[in-house]
Symmetry: D3
Subunit: 165 residues, 6 copies
């Protein structure tokens, strides 16, 4: 049976997670995004906001996630040859990791891109021969050590070679 | 500049969209799911509910989506060799297509799977060497014709060879 | 496996549901409510608003409920000998009944009452020897007939002796 | 006038609340649930998820409740002779008790059960002669003592003979 | 006592409302917005998205508002001599007007502007000597006539000299 | 590009913000509010609840705001000669100020007032010749000092002559 597992015994430490993912789009769509020619508005700006909101709404979207007081959410979008990459960097000083928040941020950003370019990606039958959201991964996670006296701003021990900028 | 485009001029017709996507997982994780050995509970059941809720919350997650009175949401999950596939079939009798709702449903279901198996997928450094959400696509869309007198239950003209069950 | 069942084939008709329920409280608490002496504010007014909001949030609270465009929500609260009764009367012109919305409204109103009188109901150990929410029922449902030409305002055929005011 | 009262002066301590409640159902319905024969899906699994989500959404449902960073939510459902019992066990390390969260969890779970068995419980007129949600109570509450140096994982002083498993 | 009033008797017609409002800001802040020098990002783009989301969330923010299936939301922001003006144009084909949605959209957009320029507007004590949100008004409303046979796209009778673009 | 800026390095201290704003209404409307003659219910009570809920929903309404564990929200409404003034006093023991929460509370309260008196304020064409929301300002902010050992209840250093009651 499902449960939101107990995290009260874990200490609050600096947590950070970076996730990214891609949406594959037609060249024509990518060109229109670059030129700012999309009917619904500036795609990358809207996707960024959508990603930040989705990261904050993680405990609403993912039923067994704890509410986490996020201290930072940074979503970036960049053009690639065959699509757009979204990355989401989330931080918190809390008892549980924030990779689900970062993944939600990536998914929210990419869904927003899709929505805004629907009318170019659709074929004559209303279907999407090329569009796909893919490669949503957690790129890196970091975790600080519990500070003895003061809780905030503890030095962070990278749990793996960080890919964060 | 971003806008939620005008759809008031479009007639209400039967709409349907089927989307699917996959999460790639370790064999060990897939076995644990199959055996019902996951600490947080029954993964496929929880993911299904998460998907349905995410489809309903589409206008919240995707900023430029219209609120749509969905008449049906069906999420299914099935084991594949190297992961789990989530499919989401959404219907509405409305002025705009429901593919974004179906895509949100798939993303929500797969994010829920990830959350529940985190502890098996993580390596010693807390990172995820194999887990990935991938191949989120719209498989098919259908659209009815505006009924002359009565609005509901119009016969649907498949806009493409349907893959729906 | 869970699904939000298809209602697209059902015609839109006038729907109405009345639900009610009770919270059992100590005499001392009931007196304080009547005198307007509750620290957090006017209990019945707050509970009424809470009930209306909960009825609107039904598809969020109840995972398999459809979003329904409610045309009216009326919550009333009245003192009884040993507690407070909340009633919620909901209407919609739609394809599915609104009893879940009415039940959510009742539950929301009664939970709000509990929250506001916690400090009087608690005993010395912080527990609640008498408080209980009970008797949440659907009192009556009505359903109109599909109008042949025009959809709104169809005459309603009472499906049972109505208890509505 | 209503207010969300000041809790900033209260220390963060381990808090726990257990609530439960019942939905009374027909024997036929209970049998169908047990056999997994319910059209909308597995009732107890869905109700569990609904309960967890409702506990997390407590500050949304109950207007004067504070947002609380819950560290655990556990909802369980069990068959009784004449219905289903839902229990919700909530924990937090915070400045205010979590009984409202536990009560929301119970209410959410029971409302979800009702929704899924509507079609069996309804009589020919669409009404519910037997279904009722009842006996929603707080079974026990516990509260730890403020830790002098470290905040998390403080030993808990049971404020009453605990009924928790 | 509060109620969400019955609108079921009113016919669905084309509705439109335009609202606007202003935030007064320092010249220094306006220059930074114009130059794209604001630390949190592009202010007008973010405010636009915030406004659209707030318009959609109107029944959540305004307790007695009905859920309305909006067919369009258009938020625009423009520089004025001493601040930024936000306008929100909302449409629906429904039983009740959409001015509250338009007002929510304006308020949401202006609140987002404030949030993003906080650090420039604050004085040394952390207070805001000049910033103010003001002049939030409904500029115009329009209402179509119920179409005899077909519901959508009815000709609109302007209820006042329209100021819409 | 937009971001939810990093606040993890800032210490948790007592924070407080007081905001207020006004809605200008017709004398006739103000009289009806005072007499309790408004069709939708008690305006000031409903507005107060709406304000409290809006303050809590600030990170939802304002996209780049952090989720903040508020310890108190107090909304008050008072009659003025030509309208109603709403004030919102918010507190938290956290890493970032709470003025956006206070501003959201004011905006939510005033929007609720408008909604409830629409039918008196409207002229024959459905427009609003006099109603306006105006003068939404932050009246004062206070910020405590980080406590060395214990975090809660730190002495507060007023950052400006406080106007709080």
């Amino acid at each position: 049976m499902a449960r939101m597992v107990y995290i009260g015994g874990k200490p609050s430490v600096e947590r950070r997670a970076l996730a990214s993912g891609r949406i594959i789009l037609k060249r024509e769509t990518l060109d229109a995004i670059r030129k700012g020619d999309i009917k619904k508005g500036d795609v990358l700006q809207a996707a960024q906001l959508a990603g930040i909101q989705a990261a904050k709404r993680c405990p609403d979207i993912v039923p067994l996630c704890h509410p986490v007081p996020l201290t930072s959410v940074d979503v970036s979008l960049e053009h690639e040859d065959d699509g757009i990459r979204a990355s989401c960097d989330v931080r918190a000083d809390y008892r549980t990791g924030v990779e689900m928040e970062a993944l939600c941020g990536v998914a929210g950003a990419l869904l927003c891109v899709w929505d805004m370019v629907k009318y170019i990606e659709k074929d004559a039958t209303g279907n999407y021969p090329s569009a796909a959201i893919t490669d949503i991964r957690v790129l890196s996670k970091e975790k600080g050590e519990p500070a003895p006296g003061k809780r905030a701003g503890g030095k962070m021990a990278a749990s793996r070679k960080s890919k964060m900028r």
